[in-house]
């Protein structure tokens, strides 16, 4: 869908923003470009809609070299969302969203009808249509930014740190909403962030860049966490990648055991007979109520009569990850995580040790994903493309490109420095 072929971007002052990048982004998926500042991720993104022209190599979209299309025309077919939304302050929300349809000459009425549709799609009430950007919160502005990018229903969306200027709670909401939208729309999305957690949460594939504009690894989030290509990636992904990787392991596959569970109607004597330090008390539908501590049991009566320690939280076998299961074990007073089924009934329990043993087992199977070889291959081509750069720079045609790119750089403000 989007293909980078030995693409480099050098600036006249000698900095290299992107160095011999070869990358192919699949159609209909979210590819996250992530890395420290100055790693060329934003420059890479901007080369897709010709906001930045490469010094060497080609970028192609659906098999066509993007230089064959006039830049404004190309851009109308590619949605673009930026950090501070960049809404037009002098236009109403509705007209902001209608921007690209109007540029495409749809006519006011049709463009506005489309814009109203999009506002609804991104979860904004119709009453906001007539307002101006300054009347909206940061999170709402960002939603409008997304709606505007979707204006002419472009197959490709470029998103440059779209959620990094809002507070963490709003960011979480926007991310969830974004994933929901993508499920519906299946756009090909290139998403830039410096936040590895966001990358892992949102990306179908992640390209990790290192300073100097080199691709360090291109992989699925699971594989990135399980098998970082080198120390740089391992470091960038973070110390707790072992735990974070559990987010990708379904809780459904975890081995659970019956555990010391008794209905609330059972007698204290029955609970004692189990000879366990903690007994899980369930209701008549086997939904968990709480933990009873054996040491604190009364001499007679039923489990209904005694105070229960809270469950902490349970994890669901449908939908939750191994990370939630492990967390449940760590928070449980009995150190046992309680797994529940779709109806909320207890399916079984497991402690942290049992869980980690099981997870270690699945870790191996995760690692066997077929992309592994291809990924390493991409990184190698990127390295190998290095020498071509030198050749490219000597080529007068390319030098002209560089000047062009520079012109458009000053055109669009302070884009010249690449990543900011």
């Amino acid at each position: 869908m989007i293909r980078f072929d030995a693409v480099s971007k050098n600036y006249p002052n000698g900095t290299t923003a992107v160095d011999g990048l070869s990358l192919e982004l699949a159609e209909g998926g979210i590819t996250v470009l992530v890395g420290p500042s100055g790693c060329g991720k934003t420059t890479t993104l901007r080369m897709v809609n010709r906001m930045v022209e490469p010094t060497a190599g080609t970028v192609s979209l659906r098999g066509q070299d993007i230089r064959e299309v006039a830049a404004p025309e190309l851009r109308r077919g590619i949605g673009y969302v930026i950090q501070h939304a960049g809404l037009f302050p002098h236009r109403t929300i509705l007209d902001n969203v209608a921007t690209v349809p109007l540029l495409l000459g749809w006519g006011k009425k049709k463009a506005r009808a489309r814009a109203a549709e999009l506002l609804e799609l991104v979860g904004l009430p119709a009453t906001m249509a007539k307002r101006y950007p300054y009347q909206l919160s940061g999170g709402q502005q960002q939603r409008v930014g997304v709606a505007r990018a979707l204006g002419a229903d472009p197959p490709v969306l470029l998103m440059d740190e779209p959620f990094s200027a809002v507070d963490p709670i709003v960011r979480g909401e926007l991310q969830a909403e974004f994933l929901r939208l993508q499920k519906e729309l299946h756009k090909t999305i290139v998403f830039v962030t410096h936040d590895i957690d966001e990358a892992i949460k949102l990306g179908d594939n992640i390209a990790v860049f290192r300073t100097g504009g080199k691709l360090a690894q291109f992989d699925t989030p699971e594989r990135l966490l399980a098998h970082p290509a080198d120390d740089f990636v391992a470091d960038f992904v973070g110390q707790d990648r072992g735990i974070r990787r559990l987010s990708f392991v379904q809780a459904a596959g975890l081995p659970l055991r019956e555990g010391p569970a008794l209905p609330v109607t059972a007698s204290v004597a029955e609970a004692r007979a189990l000879d366990e330090p903690w007994v899980l008390v369930v209701d008549d539908a086997r939904r968990p109520l709480g933990w009873a501590e054996a040491a604190g049991l009364a001499d007679a009566g039923t489990l209904a009569d005694i105070p229960l320690a809270p469950l902490g939280h349970t994890f669901s076998l449908v939908g939750d990850s191994a990370r939630a299961a492990l967390d449940a074990a760590l928070l449980s007073p009995s150190r046992l995580a309680v797994g529940v089924d779709a109806q909320g009934a207890v399916a079984g329990v497991a402690d942290a040790y049992e869980l980690s043993a099981a997870i270690a087992g699945t870790g191996g199977s995760l690692g066997a994903a077929p992309e592994a070889a291809g990924v390493a291959g991409v990184a190698e081509t990127a390295e190998a493309a290095g020498p071509q750069l030198v050749k490219g720079a000597a080529d007068p045609a390319d030098a002209e490109d560089a000047e062009d790119a520079d012109g458009s750089g000053s055109n669009t403000g302070k884009t010249g420095g690449g990543d900011r």
Binding site: P72, L74, I82, A85, P89, H90, V100, Y134, G151
Partner: protein, 221 residues
């Protein structure tokens, strides 16, 4: 002033209402058309100065040098070409507005937030369309602030044009001096000040209507 002559003879004003109205109209035309012409010159020049920054310092210096030439000298220069006509007054006044309007157009364009400009480019605006549909409208509050200053100063400067017989209400000031008669001097002065104040108020109103989106950001003027 003659003994016993009051500062204002109201009867004189009553007798000259029609004439006063005529000269007020002339005064407005002589004062405001130069602002309009100044704007027509400053907007493209400002756009060029914003796009190619190196043009800006020499352009601004040239505008300021023009502003420093005494109006009387400019009138005398243009009289040779345009005679004792209104044009001879309006050309210097137009040149004077440039030193206020050009920097305001440039500052107005610079007030366009960078993300907005980038977003416009990325949406597929061509450069020309972006300037006209996005950047200039956003520059309006800053440009209007400049227009207000230019209009007020231009309206009060018109009176000097009476030295070549084209001064709008300035006519009464010179006549009053010649006749040692204060009523027309005071009347004309007050009218000129009122014209300036009303014009300024109308410009503020126009800006509010033109830029409802700028409210809440604090008046930039």
């Amino acid at each position: 002033m003659r003994d016993g002559e009051p500062l204002i003879r109201w009867v004189w004003i009553g007798d000259h209402v029609g004439e006063l109205a005529h000269y007020t109209g002339v005064h407005l035309r002589l004062g405001l058309l130069p602002v309009l012409f100044g704007l027509i010159i400053s907007v493209p020049l400002g756009i060029l100065c914003h796009r190619w920054r190196w043009i800006y310092p020499p352009t601004l210096t040239a505008a300021n040098v023009l502003y420093s030439v005494p109006s009387l000298a400019l009138f005398m220069i243009f009289v040779r070409y345009t005679g004792l006509t209104e044009r001879t007054v309006m050309i210097p006044l137009t040149l004077y507005t440039l030193s206020v309007l050009i920097p305001n157009v440039v500052d107005g364009l610079a007030s366009v937030p960078d993300p907005v400009r980038q977003a416009a480019t990325a949406m597929g605006f061509s450069t020309v369309r972006r300037v006209i549909q996005v950047e200039l409208p956003i520059a309006v509050p800053v440009v209007v602030a400049g227009v207000r200053v230019a209009a007020v100063s231009s309206i009060s400067l018109v009176a000097v044009g009476q030295l070549i017989g084209q001064g709008g209400l300035g006519y009464y000031i010179i006549r009053g001096l010649q006749l040692d008669f204060p009523t027309p001097i005071i009347t004309a002065t007050v009218l000129i000040m009122l014209l300036a104040l009303v014009t300024d108020a109308l410009l503020v109103l126009a800006q509010r209507l033109l830029t409802p989106w700028a409210r809440g950001k604090g008046a930039k003027a």
